[in-house]
């Protein structure tokens, strides 16, 4: 076989035909020369040659590959059929496109955050060093999205490990950068000296940061910028090297640009500038033994698999933790910790951490939708196939093998599935872009082979799913029976009907599961949105103020917080304003141990803390139950006072009036033991997570802190619209000093942002549930109408024999009702079985919630029965005479 000839087989056929013609002419010439008459000569020549058509066919077959040839023919035949039925083609392709598109989009996201490797040399050699057993140890203070090490621990690991050929530590945080005149918030990557060397990242321009840059004291270090920032801010100008960036008020030389494909260690947050770790020395972060903020990873030496590295790290752990034990704290649990090595080839991802479970759940849900679409298509194809029964019977009777006919029917399905997959991939591109903007993350969404393979596999699988069963079924009956069945007086076989019923039952069952999950997620979100937080967060604006770049004289800087509050409170429309060290319902937290409370001199416990100004409770709409608010007499030198919530009073204080009772905090480095007197009591409020229960909270007076900060988070309640308030507060602050950095968020927005996973689940599962219900309804409608058409004769006889129209409607509805009932029963069982998978993402809602189940069943039953009412009425309105004469 020759592939070239395969593609040119028609050319060769003509060529051979010409050649045979040439033979005939020559032989005829010869025969005439031998003395024959022209007709006789031509006839003799033909006889000599044999049948030219047969010869050509033999040669054509030599040029062809049987399988490909017939597949091609089948596809072309299928395409012609689809062209003749554009309505069917459109419905089929559109429903598959939706199904495959949704699956591909979600898979694309999973691929991007879960499966894709870091874009560095041999990512599989990388391993992270983490605590292998936290046990009962809790990190006292932490910061950032991957707090896995303290700096002293990192130093010890770096100096004592032998498993890695190179090792590095890193930390990500938002950084203020002044480029030209404007200050920008960018993603900063703070790295130890060997970061780029170990990862094998070569600079696109200039040089990378090295261990020379990361020395104690730092001097005047350089900064590397990402390719994206270079393009965005400097237009890709090569003269960027040596230019100065002002980062957090300090000048840095740009020493290099990283290549385009490298985005740091996080898959969904790409860095803009990279600076050495030593810079944080000034903040005291490098000495603190109780402050967790770094992530550590390295490249394993050849011959060091993960378990060997883990064993090695475990063996050096006791020494390391002994050497870094924090002073002034209980270190028993700390000394029990040990280190381990963990795979990190797919990088870090907060998206993965946060959405890992929801994404897989969504993929499962989208898969169910695709399954329902398949069942629907199978039903459609079955209906079409029965219309083509005669044609197929004729083909079978003429000697086509069953396999050949099945192959032809499958080719048609494959055609639909391929078209659906292509449309689905196009749809997925937009869908996943929408998802990413909804989630507000940076993800590399390029289609890779995994995504395309997924879509292709989905197409192939679905075409088999919806094509195979009908094809097998249609070709099973004997041609004779099929030919007869098309004639008068036969009702279709029960069995063939059975498959269609089974498909509809499956559809109903699956859509009930989807509808149920959609309702669960929507109700869970609703619970979260309406849960009592103890605050009235509607109408509260958060202003983030920072005067550290404003060059204020020290005396004024000291009282800037006070000045801000006074000015904001004087702004028209402002009802109340207060500062808070912890903005409620954001992720930040501050926890201190409580040593003694009330009359108990001993006892363990801990409480959340927030340092707030006066008017905080008025602003947040959480009025004091008893006692007083903070006031001007609460100064750094006066006795420390606190306002506690009811949970604190109940769990830690003595019974009776909490006002006037005292408690003591446990000492921590930088935070000596302090005695507080309770002066006020507030209702319970949520602290930093809307999903958590009420916890003990201490509100301490910000006015009693000794170091006055030059930044603040001001909560502002007002009666005017937030946009208007934003601009008037901005003006107020500009009047204080033009150099102050201001940004705003509504408290409500902030809460919604934290509920993104739930909102994603509710939105998408709601969409999928709706889609599933529509598909199932179409399926049921199709089957019932088909049933009515098939039984026109029978219904005509019944009517003629005296059945009332109501009887007919009842009969049809009963048939539909039975299908619906079985489907709902199976669906309920399935929904209950799947419930456990969803339980961890539901809030204040049981996965077997009976009310939700009842709503799902009720609504599905209602739309399904409504869908079958149409065909039933049509049947009842048949004219018996017309019905009997039909066919």
């Amino acid at each position: 076989m020759n592939w070239l000839r395969f593609f040119r087989r028609n050319f060769w056929d003509e060529e051979r035909a010409r050649e045979l013609q040439a033979y005939l002419e020559m032989e005829t010439d010869d025969n005439i020369a031998r003395g024959m008459g022209p007709d006789e000569a031509r006839y003799a020549a033909r006889r000599k040659l044999g049948n030219p058509l047969q010869i050509r066919e033999e040669i054509y077959r030599m040029n062809s590959i049987g399988f490909v040839e017939t597949l091609w023919k089948d596809l072309r035949y299928g395409a012609r059929l689809l062209q003749r039925n554009p309505g069917f083609a459109l419905v089929a392709i559109a429903s598959l496109a939706l199904g495959i598109g949704a699956n591909t989009a979600i898979f694309q996201l999973i691929d991007a955050v879960r499966l894709r490797a870091l874009p560095v040399e041999n990512p599989q050699e990388l391993a992270a060093v983490r605590i292998a057993n936290y046990g009962r140890y809790e990190q006292p203070v932490n910061q950032g999205s991957h707090p896995e090490m303290t700096y002293p621990l990192w130093e010890q690991i770096r100096d004592h490990q032998q498993a890695f050929s190179g090792i590095f530590a890193w930390y990500e945080q938002p950084i203020h950068v002044r480029i030209g005149a404007e200050i920008q918030h960018v993603n900063g990557l703070v790295v130890s000296g060997d970061f780029f060397k170990v990862l094998g990242v070569a600079p696109l321009l200039g040089r990378v940061l090295t261990s020379e840059d990361d020395r104690p004291g730092c001097g005047s270090p350089g900064v590397m910028i990402s390719h994206a920032l270079w393009q965005r801010q400097f237009g890709g100008d090569t003269s960027v090297l040596g230019r100065k960036l002002i980062i957090e008020g300090q000048p840095f030389d740009v020493i290099g640009v990283t290549p385009a494909g490298f985005f740091g260690m996080e898959m969904d947050r790409h860095f803009d500038v990279a600076v050495p770790l030593c810079l944080l020395g000034g903040a005291g972060w490098l000495e603190r033994r109780d402050f967790w903020w770094l992530a550590v990873a390295g490249r394993l030496k050849p011959g060091w698999p993960l378990d060997r590295a883990s064993a090695h790290l475990q063996s050096i752990s006791p020494g390391i933790f002994q050497a870094t034990a924090p002073t002034g704290r209980d270190v028993r649990e700390y000394l029990k910790l040990s280190l381990g090595a963990f795979p990190v080839g797919t990088g870090y991802s907060s998206l993965r951490k946060q959405y890992g479970e929801p994404l897989w759940l969504l993929l499962a849900i989208a898969g169910l939708v695709l399954l329902i679409a398949c069942a629907n298509l199978a039903n459609l194809i079955l209906a079409r196939a029965s219309a083509r029964e005669r044609e197929l019977a004729v083909r079978l009777a003429l000697g086509a093998s069953r396999g050949r006919v099945i192959r032809q029917l499958l080719a048609e399905s494959l055609l639909i599935a391929s078209a659906g997959a292509i449309a689905g991939v196009l749809l997925a591109r937009n869908l996943s872009r929408f998802l990413v903007s909804f989630l507000n993350v940076e993800v590399d969404l390029s289609m890779d082979w995994r995504v395309l393979g997924f879509a292709a596999a989905a197409a192939l699988l679905t075409s088999m799913l919806f094509g195979l069963a009908p094809a097998l079924r249609v070709t099973r009956s004997s041609p004779g029976a099929a030919m007869k069945a098309a004639g008068r007086g036969m009702t279709s076989t029960r069995e063939r009907f059975g498959l269609r019923r089974a498909l509809v039952v499956t559809q109903i069952a699956l859509s009930l599961v989807l509808l149920m999950s959609a309702l669960l997620f929507v109700r869970s979100l609703q619970n979260l949105l309406t849960v009592d937080t103890g605050y009235r967060h509607e109408g509260v604006l958060i202003a983030y103020l920072d005067a550290s770049n404003a060059n204020l004289p020290p005396a004024r800087a000291k009282s800037i917080n006070r000045e801000w509050l006074d000015r904001i409170r004087a702004t028209p429309g402002v009802y109340g304003a207060a500062t808070a060290s912890i903005v409620p319902l954001r992720s930040e937290s501050w926890t201190l141990g409580i040593k003694a409370a009330g009359t108990r001199k001993q006892g363990q416990g801990s409480s959340r803390f927030s340092w707030v100004s006066d008017e905080y409770f008025r602003t947040m709409g959480a009025p004091l139950v008893a006692g007083r608010d903070f006031n001007q007499r609460d100064t750094p030198t006066s006795p420390k006072v606190a306002i506690v919530n009811e949970a604190f009073a109940r769990e830690l204080l003595d019974r009776g009036n909490p006002i006037g009772q005292t408690f003591r905090t446990a000492a921590e480095p930088g935070y000596p033991e302090t005695l507080y007197e309770v002066v006020g009591l507030v209702r319970n409020t949520k602290y930093n997570d809307i999903r958590a229960d009420f916890e003990p909270i201490v509100f301490a007076a910000a006015s009693q802190l000794t170091d006055e900060a030059t930044y603040a988070q001001v909560l502002i309640r007002s009666t005017i619209p937030l946009t208007q308030l934003t601009s008037s507060v901005r003006n107020t602050i500009r009047d204080v000093s033009p150099g102050i950095d201001v940004s705003f968020t509504a408290l409500k927005t902030q809460i919604l942002e934290k509920l993104l996973p739930e909102r994603l689940m509710a939105t998408l599962s709601g969409f999928f549930g709706f889609l599933a219900a529509v598909l199932a309804t179409i399926g049921l409608y199709g089957v019932v109408s088909y049933m009515v058409t098939r039984r026109t004769n029978e219904i005509g006889i019944r009517l003629a024999l005296g059945a009332s129209r109501r009887d007919v409607v009842r009969m049809i509805l009963r048939e539909a009702g039975i299908l619906l009932g079985i489907g709902l029963l199976a669906g309920t069982a399935l929904a209950l079985a799947c419930g456990r998978a969803a339980s961890s993402v539901l809030f204040n809602l049981h996965p077997y919630d009976p009310a939700t189940l009842a709503i799902a069943i009720g609504s599905l039953a209602a739309i399904a029965l409504a869908a079958s009412l149409g065909p039933a009425l049509r049947a009842a309105n048949l004219d018996p005479m017309v019905a009997l004469r039909e066919e």
Partner: protein, 117 residues
């Protein structure tokens, strides 16, 4: 329609020999299908009566194997015809196949007529 599973040995033998005969006919120089058919017929003194049509699939196959190549030319009485010519591989094949054929024939002869050894 011929049933599958008909005696293959005979078919193969004839097919293989036909290829060899064609190659031999072309050994003298390029020729078109008509000539090749007649050459085989005359040389065998009309013993080998091949259906001329069966020559063409064989030519097609040989060309596929690159043992012969073809071109359109003009015949002796001024008609367009497709001419075939042996390629170097074809020539090598011819020697090889004739050698094998000779060995086969003499072996069979030795079996059939042991006395005349």
């Amino acid at each position: 329609m011929p049933k599958r599973g008909a005696p293959p040995l005979e078919g193969d033998l004839i097919q293989g020999t036909l290829d060899m005969l064609i190659l031999q006919a072309l050994a003298l120089g390029p020729a078109h299908g008509h000539t090749i058919a007649h050459v085989i017929e005359h040389r065998s003194e009309d013993v080998l009566q091949v259906e001329h049509g069966s020559l063409y699939p064989a030519l097609h196959r040989l060309e596929d194997r690159r043992w012969i190549s073809s071109f359109w030319g003009t015949s002796e009485n001024n008609r367009k015809a497709r001419y075939y010519r042996l390629t170097p591989t074809g020539r090598k094949q011819l020697t090889e196949q004739t050698g094998r054929w000779d060995r086969l024939v003499s072996a069979i002869n030795r079996v059939l007529r042991p006395a005349t050894g």
